[in-house]
Amino acid sequence: MNALLQNLRRELDRFVIGHDEVKEALLTAVVCREHIYLEGPPGTAKTRMAEIVARGSKLKFFFYQLHRDTRLTELLGDVVLERRILEDGQGETIHQRIEKGGILAADVCVLDDISRAPGEALNVLLRILNERSYAESNLPLMTAIATSNPHLDEYYNEPLDPACLDRFTIQLQVSGLIQSGDQEAARAVIERFASGTIEEVAAPTAHGTRADYDALYDELQKTQVGDRIKRALLEFLRVLVEHHGCDETNSLLTDRSFLVKAIKLLRGSAVLAGRGRVTVEDLAVLRWMTTFRVPADVRAEIPALIARIQREYGD
């Protein structure tokens, strides 16, 4: 694995036990400069992992806890009101503007508990994430990491609508080690805490500057995607549409996501593995794209489908 990413992975492992897939997805998101959405019950280290990724590099990060009272301006920077006397002394001009901060200035931002934000802030926020520009200028933003609780009666939250979710190329469900009944994993995490070998207060060590990440991104763009891989991707989509009945009413299989972003994720996965070329192994990233984009019953079939295609298209 690339040394830069190895360091980041080490920081994640230092503070959070288990959740290998989430960690891998987070690294992929950073490499690909795509947004990622983590959904899971409270207390499953979602926020913690997001925070470690944000702080584990020498990038500018912005952490914001959304709530029902969130104002858009809090996400964008400081509001300044300016009055200027006109030169001819005939009066003054008054205007309100935003001094860029928040997500407008950050490389990585963590939007914690995103589903709590009120509609008017969320709409604009998601538009900014999508376009990566604001008021005519491009943002330095690489990756936004959003977390949310699942939509459940007990949490009194509202579901994000699928169109909002589509802005997050990578989507994962995080489950609790204890609550999911995996006794071994639960035991491992309890033991680590019981023996006090997890540093809770320490901050992650920051590795890697923006320039390092830019170099990595160049590498990503040079990564080769062979015809075989392209055909494997099309086969994957064909099966979803033709065999599983995914269509516009029940799924979100947009061209943007599956013909553009999917390729990017495949390349990112290859970069993570330290390869200059995408192989069938990398197709596994597709499972992070279908989490909330296909019906739940189809989602259950995805791992088997990917495995089959990997076998068929492997060299």
């Binding site: 280290a45 104002r71 509001v79 009101l81 009055r83 709590r116 934000a117 509609g119 609550q179 309890i190």
Partner: protein, 599 residues
């Protein structure tokens, strides 16, 4: 009678509040204390915190509380230089930066939008990158049934408090011993345990070093597994988060072991887990805690106990491995029914078609519909706090700065959609509703309650046969005591004959008291009225006048009764039929669609 006698059984779940508070203080964890008005929550918490911490900040919650009240208020700065003036804002450092203890009084009154950031800060103990000196926060709250003015606290919010305790009044719980003690010797601050003779910092360092015995760990993992499995059998929510049960609980066991002077954490210290469980698992499971604990011990039999080493030279006179003695003081009684009769396990019926009847086909996403692409809220309200200034009307803001605006400028109003509404559930409990029918009715009721919960509806509940029985909570018919309603849904009785008039009358009278907002009645039955006005003329007229929609869910097997169709059509409601599914659970289907489908 048997039931009465049961109430005198010893309460197995009695725990001692001071033990819990002491463990919380040692482990530096937060406490949620719920109890009825006047049971002494606030004074116990305040006395304890005053005695044991040195910088207590008390927050009294109210409807308009903002996190800024604690984190720091907004300060506006006007900076002028040649020909221009700039208005900037910054925050001053709020009270939370100096508090080492917080008493969050009456959490149930706090608006949830301010609670979320506050609780996040409690958990992280840092704000804007600066570490906070906070050691412990104790929140008090009224039980749902007393807190009708506010939204219930979600499990995710409660999860920020490791300790969750429920207090009961001495009088209502019939604890005459405690009541007599109180009369003889009212609680005074002096009686509250002083840990001040104890070097807290040192204690915390020592307890962190206490090793876990492997057996205790195995028992703990086993115990969690059992609690989880038992919880799955119930429909009420469960949250066993890794944060609390992996990260925090071990610290609490260490505190427990330290308190009894032990040198390592042993299985007996796991008893402290009961202080964490109250609102995280279904009530039935909470009550079974001791049973689970014994079972987990039996499942993972321990090694033959080695003689305890004792901690040389330290805290002489302490009882070594003696069990932790509860401290004297007010008993903490668990609010629980004391009959051990197994409740039926209640599945939740699929009620989606009913939901769309109740809510209409509105978009339920938080993101507002396209009406306003710029996302600017359109209406205004009066400004309440200075930190709303970025949203204030610009011209008025300027006039304010120039000193010629009386009062504060207007700010954009934010609107919350789909909030509330009222729903009355009328459930037939006549003799024919026995067996499966009663179970199904219960499933539909819990399905409806869960929908209401999500929409924060106030719900009223009536059971009827030849007469109607109105259930209420703290004198209110429409309320948000969802937990209570879910419990009620599980009850089963079937006797008497059917009467529509009485239950409709009761519900409509309640709607009439405040004729506002969306109003629905759902009547669940398997038959037609044989008592009272069979055509319920007066009630239909009243419902129409009040704009109350009456929906019918028919659970019987025969033809859909015409009277139900008439009532619902006339009031703009809809008809549904209960259809048993594969597992024997019921699903609700729209009757009109079924007819159309068959035709």
């Amino acid at each position: 009678m048997g039931r009465r006698a049961d109430r005198r059984l010893p309460r197995v779940n009695d725990v001692d509040i001071k033990t819990a508070l002491r463990l919380a203080l040692l482990a530096k964890e937060h406490v949620y204390l719920e109890g009825p008005p006047g049971c002494g929550k606030t004074s116990i918490a305040a006395d304890f915190l005053r005695a044991n911490t040195h910088a207590l900040t008390v927050v009294e919650f109210h409807r308009d509380f903002r996190a800024a009240d604690l984190f720091g208020q907004l300060v506006l700065r006007r900076i002028s230089d040649a020909g221009s003036e700039r208005l900037l804002s910054s925050r001053d450092r709020g009270r939370i930066f100096s508090a080492n203890a917080l008493l969050l009084d009456d959490l149930s009154r706090a608006p949830r939008e301010s609670l979320v950031p506050l609780l996040q800060v409690l958990d992280r103990r840092e704000l804007d990158g600066a570490p906070l000196p906070l050691e412990i926060a104790i929140a008090t709250a009224l039980p749902q049934e007393h807190a009708h003015a506010t939204d219930p606290l979600g499990l995710d919010i409660l999860d920020r408090f490791a300790f969750q305790l429920r207090l009961r009044g001495r009088v209502v719980s019939g604890d005459w011993v405690a009541a007599a003690q109180w009369l003889d010797q009212p609680e005074s601050p002096q009686q509250i345990s002083h840990e001040s003779d104890l070097d807290l910092e040192r204690a915390r360092q020592e307890l962190q070093r206490l090793p876990f015995d492997r057996h205790a760990l195995s028992v703990y993992v086993e115990l969690l597994g059992m609690i989880r499995l038992r919880s799955l059998r119930h429909s009420s929510p469960t949250l066993l988060s890794d944060r609390v049960f992996a990260r925090i609980a071990p610290k609490i066991f260490q505190a427990h072991a330290w308190s009894r002077g032990a040198t390592r954490v042993e299985a007996q210290d796991l008893r402290a887990l009961r202080y964490l469980l109250k609102f995280r698992v279904p009530r039935e499971v909470f009550e079974e805690f001791d049973v689970c604990f014994e079972a987990a011990l039996a499942e993972k039999p321990g090694p033959v106990d080695l003689p305890a080493l004792g901690r040389a030279g330290e805290r002489a006179g302490d009882g070594g491995d003696a069990p932790l003695q509860p401290m004297a003081g007010p008993a903490l009684c668990v609010d629980a029914p004391l009959d051990p009769i197994q409740r039926p396990v209640l599945a939740v019926a699929q009620v989606e078609p009913l939901v769309s009847a109740l809510l209409g086909n509105r978009d339920r996403g938080v993101a507002q519909p396209d009406e306003d692409p710029a996302g600017q809220p359109r209406r205004y309200r009066a400004m309440r706090q200075l930190d709303e200034w970025p949203e204030a009307d610009l011209s008025e803001l300027v006039r304010l700065l120039d000193g010629n605006l009386p009062g504060l400028p207007r700010v954009y109003r934010r609107e919350r959609k789909h909030n509330g509404g009222r729903l009355a559930i009328l459930r037939d409990v006549s003799a024919s509703m026995e067996g499966r029918l009663s179970l199904w009715a219960g499933q539909v009721v819990s399905g409806l309650v869960r929908v209401g919960m999500k929409q924060r509806m106030r719900i009223g509940y009536v059971e009827f046969n030849h007469q109607a029985e109105r259930y209420h909570l703290a004198e209110r018919f429409f309320h948000k005591g969802y937990r209570r309603l879910l419990d009620q849904a599980a009850t089963r009785r079937a006797e008497g004959r059917t009467n529509y008039e009485a239950p409709l009358r009761i519900a409509l009278e309640e709607f009439r008291k405040f004729p506002k907002g969306s109003s629905h009645i759902v009547i669940l039955t398997d038959g037609v009225p044989v008592i009272g006005d069979p055509r319920v003329h007066r009630e239909r007229a009243l419902a129409k006048r009040l704009g109350v929609r009456i929906h019918a869910v028919f659970l019987g097997l025969g033809d859909f009764p015409e009277i139900l169709q008439e009532i619902s059509t006339e009031t703009g409601g809809r008809c549904f039929r209960g259809v048993p599914g594969v597992g024997g659970d019921i699903a609700v289907k729209a009757f009109d669609e079924m007819v159309a489908g068959a035709a």
